[in-house]
Assembly symmetry: D2
Homo-oligomer: 381 residues x 4
Amino acid sequence: MIGHGFMGAAHSQGWRVAPRFFDLPLAPEMDVVVGRNAAAVAAAAEKWGWRESATDWREVIARDDIDVVDIVTPGDTHAEIAIAALEAGKHVLCEKPLANTVDEAQAMTDAASRAAARGVRSMVGFTYRRVPAATFARDLVAAGRLGEIRQVRAEYLQDWLMDADAPLTWRLQKDRAGSGALGDIGAHAVDLVEYITGLKVETVSGILETIVNERPLMGEGVGLSGTALEERGPVTVDDLALFTGRLSSGALASFEATRFRTGRKNALRIEIAGSLGAVSFDLERMNELEFYDATLPGTELGFRRILVTEHDHPYLAPWWPTGHMLGYEHGFSHQVVDFVNAIAEGSQPEPSFDDGLHIQRVLAAVERSSTAGSAWTPTDS
Amino acid sequence: MIGHGFMGAAHSQGWRVAPRFFDLPLAPEMDVVVGRNAAAVAAAAEKWGWRESATDWREVIARDDIDVVDIVTPGDTHAEIAIAALEAGKHVLCEKPLANTVDEAQAMTDAASRAAARGVRSMVGFTYRRVPAATFARDLVAAGRLGEIRQVRAEYLQDWLMDADAPLTWRLQKDRAGSGALGDIGAHAVDLVEYITGLKVETVSGILETIVNERPLMGEGVGLSGTALEERGPVTVDDLALFTGRLSSGALASFEATRFRTGRKNALRIEIAGSLGAVSFDLERMNELEFYDATLPGTELGFRRILVTEHDHPYLAPWWPTGHMLGYEHGFSHQVVDFVNAIAEGSQPEPSFDDGLHIQRVLAAVERSSTAGSAWTPTDS
Amino acid sequence: MIGHGFMGAAHSQGWRVAPRFFDLPLAPEMDVVVGRNAAAVAAAAEKWGWRESATDWREVIARDDIDVVDIVTPGDTHAEIAIAALEAGKHVLCEKPLANTVDEAQAMTDAASRAAARGVRSMVGFTYRRVPAATFARDLVAAGRLGEIRQVRAEYLQDWLMDADAPLTWRLQKDRAGSGALGDIGAHAVDLVEYITGLKVETVSGILETIVNERPLMGEGVGLSGTALEERGPVTVDDLALFTGRLSSGALASFEATRFRTGRKNALRIEIAGSLGAVSFDLERMNELEFYDATLPGTELGFRRILVTEHDHPYLAPWWPTGHMLGYEHGFSHQVVDFVNAIAEGSQPEPSFDDGLHIQRVLAAVERSSTAGSAWTPTDS
Amino acid sequence: MIGHGFMGAAHSQGWRVAPRFFDLPLAPEMDVVVGRNAAAVAAAAEKWGWRESATDWREVIARDDIDVVDIVTPGDTHAEIAIAALEAGKHVLCEKPLANTVDEAQAMTDAASRAAARGVRSMVGFTYRRVPAATFARDLVAAGRLGEIRQVRAEYLQDWLMDADAPLTWRLQKDRAGSGALGDIGAHAVDLVEYITGLKVETVSGILETIVNERPLMGEGVGLSGTALEERGPVTVDDLALFTGRLSSGALASFEATRFRTGRKNALRIEIAGSLGAVSFDLERMNELEFYDATLPGTELGFRRILVTEHDHPYLAPWWPTGHMLGYEHGFSHQVVDFVNAIAEGSQPEPSFDDGLHIQRVLAAVERSSTAGSAWTPTDS
């Protein structure tokens, strides 16, 4: 595993736990974790249970005893590492976003395509697909239970930037983070809509907005918990992204990604309205799916709160009895399960780098549309 | 109409509005409102649109141009007025509770029975039966959609006595009010359970509890908004009633009525669990019914939030379009509709005085059980 | 009152009920209802309690004993009637939308301005402002409890056009209805956002969409309940409107109005996020307001479900005890209260025709933006 | 670890994961799992990551390299194993219920008391105390935020016995399971009420009910998923327990434990009403706590939905960012943390065997009360 931030903890938990609950065709071993700071990465290895730590990812990739590379570094380093790993014949799991630019994502996808020809697998980490309620929503759509999709609403609402004096972390700097709410959380909304509906966003019109334009520079510390200096610097990414997309079926989907929606902590919400039914999902109640079956008698219609914790629901069988909740990190176990199964079966895991590239193109199109006065902009040009 | 407190306002609204929305076979006219204080009752007549006011209910009952008597006085006066009215050949609508004692209620029921033989109708005012969501719950049970009823939970939660220094209103004095939370709101819970399930409470075990035993005597003012004096007096009714009842089918129902459930304002909640399904109702969301249909596929089970605002739902057709809410007083219009229809048809309106007597017996049995250390006590002895 | 459709019933209920609960400085009398079909309007007068009916609104407006004209006809007739009534010195309450075009609305506003100089009052009927929870949201914002408004989401979701074979009512024809979801329900969302925030929508970017383009022509019947013929005709209004507006403070607000959001019956939802707090409202739970007070301690933050049924809440004092719900038509009583009070006080009632004109301009700007590829379009050009 | 059923999986996950997220003063090692069937227990060791498996728990307890014994066997074996382990000087974590009878529980508590004098620790596994929202509720009460506790409602609702033809598992046989819903889930409700309020249940009145009295005997299979034979046998435990308890402060608490509450899967719900506030918890939404602060202004009162996922909430700091959910098994990690910390500090972990014994006495008192016609029965006689 390359990288050891918050995502490193989640991925480590996925690798550690998945084999304890699921019957996997291969037995993953947690060999090496890589980071730039030798002491920090050694501590991470100890804490999360990796056998070794290392500071040079190139050396690790060159090792024969390494079969899989899991990339959880910031987005600006994904391309170089992933391409090198694929060329070295390692299966690659790359955290989202695939990259910070379309060009990088394209290069990665090309590398993935070449690697696939040699039986080397690659996957991008949109884990929310593996929240059972989201997977079950996709199953309902795929089974035709919603009929023709008429319209879609997707929003990812957080409020952790509410404080105008919170420091200027790397996530607020375009050269590091690529984009703001759009790429960090809007990407999840786009992926989840496409995954559940089976449709693609083909053109977009939207606007990116920075609500607080200047923040104190960051002193010591990392991530969200750094200290603030007196000097201030410009926020160069979006705090809020509002956009509308036309899906490949012709239906419209509206999107919102924001870090300023006061009181909403992690509200990734998707509602899909079809001619025969609707589903509504909220990550803040991730074990529930609301399903509206419009084919029932008129006096009995209503959104049904399904606890997606039955043994027959996706991914649920090896876990706990009915009504016992799963949490955030279970998605990472499910990701490991799907990735390992694909490697063993020799099939293409999903979402592929190609899917990741497409998401990147949607994000880039939103940026272009915003710059062009919200003009409708194709995603795949 | 005899009486003109808060219930007088609600009943007046029922008489005024019902004919404007429903096609009634008879045209009710709002003739006389009666009260002890001439000035106050005159003001009430003016405000609520009654043609005349009067201070002597006996004179009014004696008038030939009066066909219907609507009793909204405190419970200790119901028996005398209702019996006189019935004997005078007037149809009687009597607000709940039917009376403050079983003996009074029995006498009223006897009078009602004699009157019915002469075509004179009587009804007791448990209006929550006429909240469309509650009526619809009854319809689902009656249609067999819940299967065999296995267990029932009913609670009526308020918190308006939370303040230990709130004054000692008449509602906290046993000689005036009969009982406390038990009779005032517990009665609604019992009636609604019996109405929706079609079953009767046959034996009970329970406890009545006074949580704040002394309160400031009441100075000026009426009802809940009087001023508090320095002197204190004893609270002689229950603040909280907890009891279990065995229904005529053998199933158990548990009840709670309280004015001390911090934060709950008017939460009359009924949940009925059957072998094929369940319903859940909360008066604080009175336009909704939660319905669980256990016959659906296992992965799709869940409580369905039905907005009971469709034209095909009970009482709904003459009102507003789908999704437009009804409020508290609509039940009083529905009560007028059912009462007037029964008079015109010559049928027995429900709930009858007999039903009201039965509720009174349930309440009395709970009191006896509480006194007897929660011993199981039959309701109809 | 001119007109006697569904809105006529609601307005009649407002005029009938308001004086029974509120102390009004003037005593409104329900004199004449006007309609084109003599038999139908006579029946409406009888049913809703108007003294007379008439078929020629000009004659009624000319009568000396008429002081107030309440217009509840379709939008294409508002301008002519309202201007004539104002010129005849009658106070005018005009149902929303003010008119079908900006030009008509402008002419009405000019007439209102001339009339106001002579002490004649005019108001447009956006009644959802008078839902107590919405009014209370405005009060919280006005008191600074939300701090600086950062972003706004407003949606009005219905699904009554889900059935692709539902007939082509007048509401789906542009020449009659002006627009579709945009003007019918989107107008409410815009008005409510402006009312609660005190801000104006200054520029917009959006798209209008017709999801089902052809429907069966309508045979007999009216409104939503007509029968469908075999022949089909084009739907000429929008089924779905998605737009973003920049408010006068610079904040962005995103809007959605749709009649195709499967399972949502009357979900007018407004969420306003500020630097100190947020409010969230849903008309399907119209007695509740969710309030997030970000100034509370960090471990205690959360959306608080306030039952807006306390005597100290807006409009609530004359109604029922705490926890007893209001319904759809109560807003119409509150509208009558505010209108009559303004007439008595000689003040300008709100929302004024000027406010109505502004809303019309916002709607027109959305249409122009949609035609222009979602280009940002000023609302007051 | 002795035992390897469903609870074994949960405990194993606790031991595996806790050290990866929390800084523990001691490093637990997963040495031996014990079971009667050699092949099955070997598979469990392999699957859950224990170094060895064994079939004789006495041998394992005799080993010097074993410091801690975690008991997850059925309740009828707890006493023998726990007493032996304590006498061998091993710290003991014993899954709830402490035992199947009060006598056994008393013997275990005596052994624990003797062991504690030698520095050997013991704890009983009521893990729901360690759901952060429940712990936070306790903190609010302890900080006086609820004022004086006035009344309590606790219910644990499941429906997995709804099907009257489900087979007669060991959980429905009194000699194996001790009791039914009462001991299995009612025990959790009692413990959580006592934990959050800091009060004890001193007397009880209640009834136990078996709703389906006969079920098919079980063929092959285990637990809930066995096959049903044609022959039927008697259900000898309760399906439903309804009881009221008087707490040590004098306040009343009402309890319900049921496996027949159609549609409720794992709804452990606690609501505590005090003079200054209230809290409401539902295990089906385990990351949320509803808090009502009655000291806020009257128009702003309401239950506040707190997402208990902030870093300052109990147990939360080492986990994920705000708004990322925890699941069922996290409580088992928290249990390990508290147990290991108590061992390292030499303090008494909670809940102690003494607490477990008290719960057992409450359950026994409910049984006696049920037999005695719901007579009020002391819990500690």
